[in-house]
Structure formats: structure tokens, C-alpha cells
């Protein structure tokens, strides 16, 4: 009797970790990876340690510590998180592990919710570490216990790389058993493994190179790679990860006879590739983002002296950017064979209004940005960071976004370059704890004359409301130390630190004026819980309403950009809709006293 459940890909991944006997799970939130830790934390019975760490590097190192104690650990992050964790990761490949260690690094082809679309398989190549690339949520779940076993067999960390369509796909999932027995922790003092002095690192590098072939051989035999040779086919398709299911479906629909190699692991199964190349004249390689498989196929063909025509990113058959789908496969086939399988295109054209995501009604970031702009003016420079507030780009106070924590350092660089205009940067609470702290320390140390605004909405909002060190509770809701941002900034030497309520326009604007005039690094902490948290906590603030008698139709409140404020063109009057969350900022903006709180 099997159990099937309808699950989100990330929930299936969490399940796979449980079925693999995970004992320590860490991570830093980032779309599309966040729900893995959220799911593990929400379980009532937990026989594992779980945490949101302060950043990916720290999360990775905690997982390493656990794996060195001989237990199975996992660290989760989005693709760019591995850039932060790359330092421990690259050397960990040399040192290896005892307990199984899986780094789940979720890629985001098409940048649905990311600043770039880097391909994590390149990191696996770079670090000489194996990588698992699931093609469906079911396979993702099933791969994880195997990945733990594999990691322990070769004493090496492994990368597990879902993409957005795996992590945020849903599927009926057949569940497996969750083991009850787990390893007891024991840290063995293997100094030649755990102390990466040059004299230890050199032989470990040699060892890492030596296990490449055995790892490749083992992976080639795994269920994650499969070769179907069609007896009369002269054409082959190689599909990697999720792209393989798009290719498979298109081939089935077309009824095309092609040999098919599905790849789900790296290093790629050279044996299977060679077997395919020996039977076909041409091969189309279908993989998202980088030509990782394709480069290997070319090398294998050349080494074996096989005159196979290889198509993929080479020749422009498959795009190297964005996510793929069935249409992309049809286009590639079309280019390759001049087939009449042009993907269908829709025809109706009606001018539509764009609907970009934006800050919520009553979001405190909007209020902070409004006051910031009011005080610093349009000439000032506004570096910003990564979080919901990046959506504040419409307010004219988000002028740079590079990576987590970069706002303060970029502001410093602008200042040291000799910019004479005022510089005011913004960064969220979680992003500040993540890597912004280092930047503030550096700004103070090197005397950057800038204003740093910490948008403290008391949660990591964008990724789904995960706790951070400032909120006073852990991932499981357990109370913990509530780290004071103000004390932290003062301890790091910031000359002026104030905490203000962004809903109080007078108060925050006074604070911004003082910060602007301050010689040195000034910090303004705009502290207000996220409106979504407030709503979830059951707090209902009274909404506001426009008095049409008093409204002059000046549109100052409309320009504030709150989605709850519309303008009635007929009556030349502002209207507040049911979206109002009762922040009261518009009432302070109105010069005619036309906006009032609804009486109970």
C-alpha cells in the first residue's frame, strides 16, 4: 500500500530529506528554496535540529560541523546564496565529510525572483563535486536519500539543484518510509582531513581528483540517468534535468523516433553518452542555461573520433538564457530539421495595462521611502538592497541593487569616489544581519559620510516571513535573544543611531534631516512590523476614508502610490478602497485634512 499526496516540489524535497534521515538542516531563505526549511520546521515531531541561519556561509558551516560529527546534514539556499557560501564550499570539497552532506541550491532560470540566472552546475564542476539535477518533484524526493548515501560512500558533499519549476511545481507524490534509526554523533579528530593546512590540502586535492572517475561510474549506474536506444533512429536527444521532460513530451506528441538520453547527475555519465553517439548521426542537447552537458558531449565525440553533428546552444538551437519549455524544444527541432512544427502563437491583441508586483497597502517601506525622498530630494543618490523594498523602485529611492548587503558598501564607494551629492541607502533587517553588518562596520571604519536606513519590518518578508536574529524567536517559534539593531550599530561605531516609527512622518523626517546633516555614518532604523504579519496576528487597524467635501482633488495621496488609494475622475476626488490597512500615512500627507480614520 503506497501513499500518494499532492505536494509542492519543496515540500516533496523536505519529505525526501526526512526519508533520507536528515539530522541537521540549515539554510537562509531565498526564492525558490525557502519552503524546504519552512516545511521541516512546521512538523510537530522533529528529531532533527533545524535553523534559519544568518546567511548562507554560516548555514553551510553549521551543516559542515554536523556532517563532521558524522550525522546527515543539509543546507538550503537559492543559487546566488552559493556565492556567499562558496568560501567554505570550495575547500569542503577537499576536506570531504563523514556524515552525508547535501547542499540544496535552487536555481531560478528566467530570474522569476532573482537578480541573475547563474547555473549551479558550473559550481559543481568548479568544486569537483557531484550534482543531482531532478526532472520532476517525485524524482527530487526520491533522489535525496540516494544523495545522502552517495555523499557518505565517497565522503564528499553533494549539490542538489532544483529549479523554480521543480521547487514551485506541484505533483502527486508517492511517499516512502521515514527511518527511525539515526547515527549517533561522534566527531573524529582527523586533523589531516579537518585542518586544511597546505600540507593537508595538497593530498586532499589529489584524492578529490582520484575519486572523480569512480563517482562518475557509480552515478552512471544510478536510476537518475537513462538511455533509450531506438533501433532505427539516426537522431538522438539528450535532455538534462527538467528540460528532459519537456523534450520527452514534445517527442511523444510528435511521434518522432529518436533515441533519448536523460541526464540527472554530474559528472555526466560518459559511458551512456558514448553509447548514444555511436548509434546516431546527429544529436540535439536540451538543457536549461549553460551548455554543461553539451561541452562534455563535444569532448567525448572528439576523443572517440565520432563524426556526430552536435546541436544545442552551439548553432543557436537552444537559448542559453531563460527557462525552457515544450515550445523551445519544438523551435529547436524546427531549426535543426526544417520540420513544420512551428510552435503555435496566440493572436488576440488588446492593449493591457502592466501589472507589476508592488509594495502592499500600508507597507511601512513606502512610508519610509516617501519621507526619505522628501528630505534628501531628487538629487540625492539612493543605493538599495534585496528584499520586498526593491519593489520601491517606483518611489525613486531604489537606484542600485546588486547583491545581499551591498547597499551600504556601494554607498561608501560612491562617497569615496568623491560624489558630493547626499547619499542615503536602504537595507532590510534580515539583509542587514545577512551581510549588511560587515558593510556598516567597513563604512564606519573608513569614515564614509552616508546615511544608512535600516527598513526594520521585524521579519524576512519577501521569502515568506522567516525569522531573523532581530525578532526574538527561532524557526520553530521558540523564544530566543532579540538582538537590538540599534545597539549593534552603535557597537560597530556608527556615530548617530536613531529608531523611528515610519508611520509618523514628522518623526522620521526629523530623523532623516539630522542624519543628512550628520558628519559621518548615520543610521536611521525605521521600525514597524510588516503589514502581512500584523494581519496574520489578527490585529485589525481601522481603515481610513476620504471626505469628498474636503477633498480638493490635488492627488497628493494618489501619488503616494498606495494600492488602496484610487482617484474618481468623475467627481475629482480620491477614494480609499477596501485594501486599506489603516496605516494612516495618507491622512498625514493630505493638506486639506480630508482623510480620516473610520469611526468604530
Amino acid at each position: 500500500m503506497t501513499t500518494r499526496e499532492y505536494m509542492l516540489g519543496n515540500v516533496a524535497i523536505a519529505r525526501g530529506l526526512l526519508e533520507g534521515g536528515v539530522q541537521v538542516a540549515t539554510g537562509y531563505p531565498g526564492t525558490p528554496s525557502s519552503e524546504i526549511i519552512d516545511t521541516l520546521a512546521a512538523r510537530k515531531e522533529r528529531d532533527y535540529h533545524i535553523e534559519w541561519s544568518v546567511n548562507e556561509k554560516v548555514a553551510m558551516e553549521v551543516a559542515v560541523g554536523a556532517a563532521w560529527a558524522g550525522v546527515r546534514s543539509v543546507v538550503t539556499m537559492k543559487h546566488v546564496g552559493l556565492n556567499v557560501a562558496a568560501d567554505p564550499f570550495m575547500t569542503l570539497a577537499y576536506a570531504g565529510t563523514k556524515g552525508g552532506l547535501i547542499a540544496i541550491v535552487a536555481d531560478d532560470p528566467s530570474c522569476h525572483s532573482s537578480q541573475n540566472e547563474q547555473d549551479t552546475r558550473r559550481y559543481a564542476q568548479f568544486a569537483l563535486v557531484p550534482c543531482f539535477d531532478p526532472s520532476t518533484p517525485q524524482e527530487a524526493k526520491d533522489m535525496l536519500p540516494y544523495a545522502f548515501e552517495f555523499s557518505e560512500q565517497f565522503e564528499i558533499p553533494v549539490i542538489f539543484r532544483p529549479t523554480t519549476r521543480i521547487s514551485h511545481g506541484k505533483s502527486d507524490i508517492e511517499l516512502g518510509e521515514i527511518p527511525t534509526e539515526k547515527s549517533a554523533p561522534h566527531f573524529e579528530k582527523l586533523l589531516d582531513r579537518w585542518v586544511m593546512l597546505p600540507k593537508n590540502a595538497r593530498p586532499r586535492h589529489t584524492h578529490l581528483l582520484a575519486i572523480q572517475q569512480p563517482m562518475e561510474d557509480a552515478l552512471a549506474e544510478s536510476p537518475w540517468n537513462s538511455l533509450e536506444l531506438k533501433p532505427d533512429a539516426t537522431f538522438g536527444v539528450i535532455g538534462a534535468g527538467i528540460a528532459s521532460v519537456y523534450a520527452k513530451e514534445a517527442l511523444q506528441e510528435l511521434g518522432l523516433e529518436a533515441s533519448f538520453l536523460k541526464i540527472g547527475t554530474y559528472p555526466v555519465p560518459k559511458k551512456l553518452i558514448l553509447e548514444l553517439l555511436e548509434t546516431v548521426n546527429s544529436v540535439l542537447i536540451f538543457e536549461e542555461l549553460e551548455p554543461v552537458v553539451e561541452e562534455q558531449v563535444k569532448m567525448i565525440a572528439q576523443e572517440a573520433g565520432l563524426p556526430v553533428y552536435i546541436m544545442g546552444k552551439t548553432g543557436g538551437f537552444v537559448p542559453r538564457e531563460g527557462e525552457l519549455d515544450i515550445s523551445a524544444f519544438l523551435e529547436a527541432l524546427n531549426k535543426a530539421f526544417d520540420l513544420d512544427v512551428e510552435p503555435e502563437k496566440g493572436t488576440i491583441s488588446l492593449e493591457l495595462a502592466p501589472r507589476p508586483p508592488g509594495l502592499c497597502a500600508g507597507c511601512s517601506h513606502r512610508a519610509t521611502f516617501y519621507s526619505m525622498r522628501k528630505v534628501f530630494g531628487k538629487d540625492a543618490i539612493y543605493p538599495s538592497d534585496i528584499g520586498c523594498y526593491t519593489l520601491g523602485i517606483q518611489t525613486g529611492t531604489v537606484e542600485t541593487t546588486l547583491c545581499m548587503g551591498s547597499s551600504i558598501s556601494i554607498a561608501s564607494g560612491l562617497y569615496h569616489a568623491g560624489e558630493k551629492r547626499p547619499i542615503c541607502c536602504s537595507i532590510g533587517d534580515s539583509t542587514f544581519f545577512h551581510t549588511g553588518m560587515n558593510s556598516l562596520l567597513n563604512a564606519v571604519f573608513n569614515k564614509a559620510n552616508i546615511t544608512v536606513t535600516i527598513l526594520d519590518n521585524r521579519i524576512t518578508a519577501m521569502t515568506g516571513h522567516q525569522p531573523n536574529p532581530g525578532v526574538g524567536f527561532t524557526v520553530t517559534g521558540e523564544p530566543t535573544v532579540e538582538v537590538s539593531l540599534a545597539e549593534l550599530c552603535r557597537a560597530m561605531g556608527a556615530g548617530s543611531v536613531v529608531v523611528v516609527d515610519p508611520y509618523n512622518l514628522e518623526e522620521i523626517q526629523e530623523a532623516f534631516k539630522a542624519a543628512k546633516d550628520f558628519e559621518g555614518t548615520a543610521v536611521v532604523i525605521a521600525k514597524k512590523p510588516c503589514v502581512i504579519s500584523v494581519k496574520r496576528a489578527g490585529t485589525r487597524r481601522l481603515p481610513y476614508i476620504v471626505d469628498p467635501e474636503k477633498c480638493e482633488g490635488c492627488k497628493q495621496c494618489v501619488k503616494f502610490g498606495c494600492p488602496a488609494i484610487e482617484f474618481d475622475e468623475e467627481n475629482k476626488c480620491a477614494v480609499i478602497t477596501a485594501l486599506c490597512s489603516g496605516c494612516g500615512v495618507c491622512a498625514q500627507i493630505c493638506k486639506f485634512d480630508a482623510i480620516k480614520e473610520v469611526k468604530r
Partner: protein, 200 residues
């Protein structure tokens, strides 16, 4: 089971605005599919795009491979908002069915004067040229059922007649997924939505 799946293949696209409950709508259908023994693949919009942005969910009943519906592959389009029905028309088959809520949500680009919201009647006229359109105001219908928040469930009811899943199983799934206190309202909204399309 594979035989049943072969007969019961259906690709459904759900579109709307972040915050309207598109994910709950697809979960109701997804859970019901699993209960009735159908395989299912779905793809959702999470993260940044959710904050009031345009969202689209793919649901593939009886599917075993990928979760993404190909262009012109969807049999049915369920639009929780009228302009969002048009935005993803590329995915709908010629002659496909559109079940659409006529209650608009005006985006900030329109309130701030950067863009115009198309006329609702014009949207429906254009849609009707090539597709079978079932349009009604689901926000009002949900309000009648007891709460405007049940709009998404009313829309699931409205599209339910096109799904290869028995009505009773869908209702069972509604009961399992909505907050305990709102079960009655949501079941009523489902029934009213279903009747609205049956009678049209």
C-alpha cells in the same frame, strides 16, 4: 489507472492577481485529482511576483511529465480577474473555454495614470470571438454566499463542470483546505459558482 488517465487528460490555466487565492484554487483541484486517482502536475507563481502582480498557475490533469502547459495547449482558462484572462490567452487552444470573473482589480499603473484599463465589455467581446466564454461577477456571487473572500472557491465551482473530477470529491477537497470556520460559506460559494455556469 493509465487507461483512466488517458481519458481524463485536461490542461487548465488559472490566472489572476497575487493575493486573490489562485494557489488555493489550484490546491483544491490538485488535492481532488489525487483523491480521484488522477496523476497531476502543476506550476505556480511564488515569491516576488506575488505582491499584487499578475500570477498564473498551470494545472495538468492526467499528466506524467512536465508541469508547464505548452502554448495553445490549455483546454480551459480560469481567470480570477478579467484583464488577466487576456494576458495569458497564448496558452489557450482555439475554441477553448474561458471561465472569467468580471470584477476588475485596477493595477497601480492605471491609478497612477501610466496605463488604461481596457473596457470590460470589450474584453468579453474579444474573448467571445474565438472562445467559449462563461463570465460573471464572482466577487458579488461570493458576497452573496457569505464572504467576498470565497471568490476563488466560487470560481473553482464555476469551472468544476469542465474538470474530469466528480463534484463530490471537489467539495470534499474544499472542506479539507479552507479554514474550518468558513467551510459552510465556501461550499455554498462553490455550489453557486457551479450553478452559474450550468445555467448559462
Amino acid at each position: 489507472m493509465s487507461q483512466i488517465e488517458g481519458e481524463k487528460k485536461l490542461d487548465l490555466l488559472i490566472t489572476g492577481v497575487g493575493g486573490q487565492g489562485a494557489i488555493l484554487a489550484s490546491d483544491i483541484i490538485g488535492k481532488a485529482a489525487v483523491i480521484s486517482g488522477l496523476s497531476i502536475r502543476a506550476a505556480e507563481t511564488h515569491g516576488m511576483a506575488q505582491r499584487g502582480g499578475s500570477v498564473v498557475n498551470h494545472i495538468r490533469l492526467g499528466a506524467n511529465l512536465g508541469s508547464m502547459i505548452p502554448k495553445k495547449g490549455a483546454d480551459v482558462l480560469l481567470a480570477l480577474e478579467p484583464m488577466e484572462a487576456v494576458r495569458y490567452l497564448d496558452f489557450l487552444k482555439d475554441g477553448g473555454v474561458i471561465v472569467v470573473n468580471t470584477q476588475p482589480i485596477v493595477p497601480v499603473t492605471v491609478t497612477s495614470g501610466l496605463a488604461k484599463y481596457p473596457d470590460i465589455q470589450e474584453i468579453l467581446d474579444v474573448l467571445s470571438e474565438k472562445y467559449i466564454v462563461k463570465a460573471f461577477n464572482a466577487d458579488e456571487l461570493a458576497a452573496e454566499a457569505g464572504s467576498r473572500l470565497a471568490m476563488n472557491v466560487a470560481m473553482v465551482g464555476a469551472v468544476s463542470g469542465y474538470l474530469p473530477i466528480p463534484k463530490e470529491i471537489l467539495i470534499e477537497s474544499v472542506k479539507a483546505l479552507v479554514p474550518q470556520k468558513t467551510i459552510e460559506i465556501n461550499v455554498r460559494a462553490f455550489e453557486m459558482g457551479r450553478r452559474k455556469v450550468e445555467e448559462s
